[in-house]
Amino acid sequence: MSTRTLSLPRNRDGWRAPAALAGVLAALFVLPVVIDDAFVYHIFITICIFAGLSTAWNIVGGYAGQLSLGHAAFYGIGAYVGMMLVNAGVTPWLGMFAGGGVAAVVAVAISYPCFRLHGPFFALASIAFLEVFRVLALHFSDVTGGATGMMVPLETGWMWMIFQDRLPSLIIAFGLMLLTLLVAWGLRQHRWGFYLVATRERESAARSAGIGTVKMRLLAVAISAALTAMLGTFHAMYLTFIEPGSVFSLTFSIQIAMFALIGGIGTVFGPLVGTILLVPVTELARGWLGAEAVGLHGFVYGSVLVIAVLFMPDGLMSVLSRFFGAGKTARDEDAAGTPPAPTRTQAQRAPIGDVVLQAEHLDKHFGGLHVTNDVSLTLRKGEVLGVIGPNGAGKTTVFNMLSGFLKPDSGRVSIRGADGHFHSPASPGDFARLQLGRTFQIVQPFAAMTVEENIMVGAFHRHPAVADARRSAREIAHRMGLARYLDDEARGLPIGGLKRLEIARVMAMEPRVLLLDEVMAGINRADLQEAIELVRTIRDSGVSIIAIEHVMQAIMSLSDRVIVINSGEVIAEGAPEDVVRQEAVIEAYLGKESIDAAAQ
């Protein structure tokens, strides 16, 4: 996903952003009270409701990156559950939570099978669910009132959320909006918010960091649906009448999503900004022109949407944060300084210990292709095991089985846990919990997150509290020479930086076993020596390492032992200098002729 600042600019001694936010929120409440006009009240209540809905949508559509265009389904569930309970004599204050609960359960049930779908297809599925809900609400008219709709019984007062005056409605709408904003803000600050964004950006890297990606998405969907439904209950009381066509409406869903998009999708306060900007314009247009010009406000909506994505695809928040970020001070700590080269601790290297990882008879077929044929290997504590072999030999496939990304057809991977016993984990998350970390051959940064946040995702593994994780991430960034990039988005890093970031994220997990997939490939000579030193430092700290590498200089100087894989089989194993002299190995790399040529 593209550039988006994830929250208000973190401006250390900045007061402008929070002050602006407080001012805007205060104005939302104070202005209508001061003006005291029914129409103005109505507009501000509508703003509060839509800002809440859009903020709730953003938890799924923005943070988690699942573009739902069927959120009106949850709104409708809230509205109908609340309305039915009110007609049965239950106050909407309870109905609201009942609706929220039902919506959360429904959301989890319908989203679970849809998470494999990307972008437009998730959107299509959500639209289809919405249509099904609408048709069902129309069909079961004895429960829902069908096309004739449902009315609230005309009892007023706080108990029923229905008032003669506008002020109490504004208080409730404003309160619900604040609640939603608070949840959205709190979630983004929490470890879970990082997990959600990381999952959106790179699912595989997120899984290797031990994130339960499906669980996180379900959590987001449940929270978002529950908040949406609560707002739906209140809105139904405010409108006093609901019917399936207007409640389970695709247009309504699109509107909610659109406010978030225009304000800044994925940002905490973007949906609020988008709503404040667009609702008054369209409500005024509806009020003044509605009678003569049916469709004008819709035409304006549509055109604004097209123009906005063409010229401001990151939303208003990116424009605003540029303004608010203008006074941003440079990082005080070694901001401009060159990164300290990783210095090798001269501590004595501990002797190689017991077996920590064992792979037995791994077999894997892809269709008719036998990519891994009876591969067994062991790794001892503090050891560096090099894995070499020609391209396409099946090295990365072995790695994928060693880290839980692929399930072997037969054979078994076991890891000694911190408890000293061997375990056979099944998923990448289980492997991560046993403190196995891996890098990816093609770097997998969380592009829209800053370098610091990227490393924090790994650090959460050992430090669940955000402050601790941040501290740990900074420390690792310093060690890895990434300190000056801390506040930059990962997408902007040069390839050498991305490679270092890939290792930094894994190191933040404080792994006991580390799988490095071609981390030296494509980096220049000067960096190579540094990288080799770095791996040595990691090894000396007691981490056991398996490294796939093509750079011979690195393999020869780092590995205690080397195995050679060719065509999915282990063809040689031993000390590096012995292995590279074996005929089979040379043949695998260079072909049979070169051995003959060498013999002549």
Binding site: C114, F115, L124, F129, L261, V294, A308, L310
Partner: protein, 294 residues
């Protein structure tokens, strides 16, 4: 038995109609990888043009083909050129919202110009029933059914037997390689989008005498078209044709046995099942899976 035959006939006729509307969508998706949420509104615009021509000039609805097809081609080409092209490197959600915005704008523009009332194109005898024994269908439906076959075969031949067709397919396979082979990729996209929209123009001309035009007519049809396109295997034109017939039959039978209000539940239920369990479509090879995680 007669009922079943009649429902089958209705289902096949509906299937032809759905195929007609869906081929353009699947063509555009297959090549440009963009889901055009405004596809239904292209149909709506086409139907209004047919309505205007027939009522203003008093010609046979099919005669408006000469104007509707080029008009829709231009509309599609412009959409690609002015909107999609600029967003090619943007995120998926930006592309989605661009066509969603276009769709909202067009619906409401129609509402502004024509109002919410329906606009009846003169049927010019196309609503006459023809049939064998007790099974009868409308002449207009038969025309649609056979035209959809001609359209599918025609598109297939165009894509496989002609030079621009090969360029289009090559671009779909690998944009970078196609460019290296000297293909003007952005022109291919514009051409494809125009072609897809032109197919909708054909559909609009044939549909208008049977269904009244209204600003929201596209919304209903486009959802069905999405179902057909996904079920047929994204980008597969023949797959879409078969899927359209299947959905047409489901629609007709569900309408009869479940009631017309619940038939949509059946159609969307099938759609969701396909999306979840066979995202490559019922007939698609397992190649177009870029939209799902393994």
């Amino acid at each position: 038995m007669e009922t079943v035959l009649q429902i089958t006939a209705n289902g096949l006729m509906l299937g032809g109609l759905y195929a007609m509307i869906s081929v353009g969508l699947t063509l555009i998706f297959g090549i440009t990888r963009v889901i055009n949420f405004a596809h239904g509104e292209f149909l709506m615009v086409g139907m209004y043009i047919v309505y205007l021509i027939t009522t203003q000039l008093g010609v046979h609805p099919y005669a408006s083909l000469l104007l509707v097809v080029p008009a829709l081609f231009v509309m599609g080409a412009l959409t690609q050129k002015l909107v999609i092209e600029r967003l090619r490197n943007s995120d998926e959600h930006v592309q989605i919202f661009a066509t969603v915005g276009l769709s909202i704008a067009l619906i409401n523009l129609a509402l502004l110009i024509f109002g919410a009332d329906i606009a009846n194109t003169p049927s010019s005898g196309l609503r006459h029933s023809v049939g064998v024994g007790t099974v009868g269908v409308l002449t207009g439906q038969l025309v649609i059914f056979f035209s959809s076959i001609v359209l599918v075969v025609g598109l297939h031949l165009l894509l496989t037997r002609t030079r621009p067709g090969r360029a289009i397919r090559a671009t779909a396979q690998n944009r970078a390689a196609a460019r290296l082979m000297g293909i003007n990729v952005s022109r291919v996209y514009v051409l494809t989008f125009g072609l897809g929209a032109a197919c909708v123009g054909v559909a609009a001309t044939l549909v208008a005498p049977l269904y009244p035009a209204s600003p929201t007519i596209g919304t209903y049809f486009v959802l069905i078209a999405f179902v057909v396109v996904v079920m047929g295997g994204l980008g597969s034109i023949t797959g879409a044709f078969i899927a359209a017939l299947v959905i047409g039959l489901v629609d007709a039978f569900a309408g009869y046995y479940l009631g017309s209000d619940l038939k949509e539940v059946a159609v969307f239920g099938i759609f969701l099942l396909v999306l979840i369990f066979r995202p490559s479509g019922l007939f698609g090879a397992r190649r177009n899976l870029s939209h799902v995680s393994p």
